[in-house]
């Protein structure tokens, strides 16, 4: 399975569409424990991403991911801007110059994205953040590939792990971000950032498996 640059752009556009469709859902999640703008912010960001990738020739996947990150950083407005922005920009560095990528490259992309988010947000697992979806997904993808799974199976396992991770955020007290001001009141609600991260991973899986 190799994915060419133009296909990467198609997948990112699909992510933008899915974010748009789930704008209200993400905003509702955020309204429960945050400032209620996650859906709107992500939608604004990914609309800008679409615009920025419109004329890209797809010849450098690193460039595509970098443009995506820059557009998110400049247009989101909330914490997800610098977090997802950093994730895409860090990911861009590991595939810079590539015209097509394999699942092994994608593994490195996700690893770099996770690393970027951890550094930017000074956060770790179990703090009710994006990391609670992304880190289990990265681990599951790595294990699956090490055990001989193909790309589709490995991505499916990553999505499942992220889903479990999102569910788990309901049991955690938020200690990072706006939700941390709520303390115990944040229990029982899932983290909107983890939810949007799952959404992105699901879109990638759906696009690769179809």
């Amino acid at each position: 399975m190799s994915v060419r640059g133009l296909r990467v752009i198609e997948i990112i556009n699909k992510i933008a569409d899915d974010i748009e469709k789930n704008k209200m859902y993400l905003t509702e999640l955020d309204a429960a424990i945050g400032d209620g703008d996650h859906g709107l912010n992500m939608s604004k960001g990914f609309l800008a991403v679409k615009e920025k990738l419109k004329d890209d020739d797809g010849n450098n996947i690193g460039d595509i991911l970098k443009k995506t990150g820059m557009a998110l950083v400049s247009n989101v407005g909330g914490a997800s801007g610098p977090l997802y922005g950093t994730a895409f920009m860090k990911a861009a560095m590991v595939v810079n110059g590539k015209k097509e990528i394999e699942i092994e490259d994608f593994k490195q992309v996700l690893e770099a994205a996770l690393e970027g988010i951890k550094i930017r947000g000074k956060a770790k697992l179990n703090e009710k953040t994006i990391i609670d979806a992304l880190e289990p997904a990265v681990e599951a993808l790595k294990n699956a590939l090490d055990n001989g799974s193909n790309a589709e199976e490995a991505l499916k396992k990553a999505v499942n792990a992220a889903e479990t991770g999102v569910e788990h955020t309901k049991d955690i007290i938020a200690t990072k971000g706006r939700a941390s001001y709520l303390g115990e009141r944040s229990i029982g609600h899932q983290d909107p950032g983890a939810a949007s991260c799952l959404l992105i991973l699901k879109t990638i899986y759906n696009e690769i498996s179809c």
């Binding site: 400032d35 703008d37 709107l40 912010n41 604004k44 950083v73 400049s74 989101v76 407005g77 909330g78 914490a79 801007g81 610098p82 977090l83 922005g85 950093t86 930017r120 947000g121 000074k122 990072k176 971000g177 706006r178």
Partner: protein, 128 residues
């Protein structure tokens, strides 16, 4: 003279903090980076960068912010500065209003950025 940049999710808070501080230190370069460029609540890396450049001098710039993601965007803005500018721009985690007023007074007294940061320890709060 050290310049100040106030980064807030709200344009009104950033403008208000600037207004308050300017009353006591009229000659200090202060720039308000509040809200997003399309008028939403949030922080905007391009606005922050423009504000840093607006008040920048060799004496340096102190960035004061309100809540978590403002810090992340301020930090990213710094990463986009040239290396020689970058080392003269510092982010401080003081209470936004108290910090801005105190810093502005210290700036007007022509203190160095390190001296001002030390004074600001007094109004430091746990932010990230």
């Amino acid at each position: 003279m050290v310049g100040l940049v106030i980064v807030s999710h709200s344009q009104k808070i950033a403008e208000g903090a600037k207004e308050l501080a300017s009353q006591m230190a009229a000659d200090v370069p202060i720039a308000a980076a509040g809200g997003t460029r399309d008028g939403r609540i949030g922080t905007d890396i391009d606005k922050i960068l423009a504000c840093i450049n607006e008040v920048y001098s060799e004496d340096g710039v102190l960035v004061i912010y309100d809540l978590g993601s403002a810090y992340m965007n301020a930090e990213m803005a710094l990463e986009f500065l040239d290396d020689n500018k970058k080392e003269k721009v510092h982010i401080t985690d003081s209470a936004i209003i108290e910090g801005t007023v105190l810093a502005a007074i210290q700036c007007s007294m022509k203190k160095s950025i390190l001296e001002i940061k030390e004074e600001l320890e007094e109004v430091k709060i746990q932010k990230t």
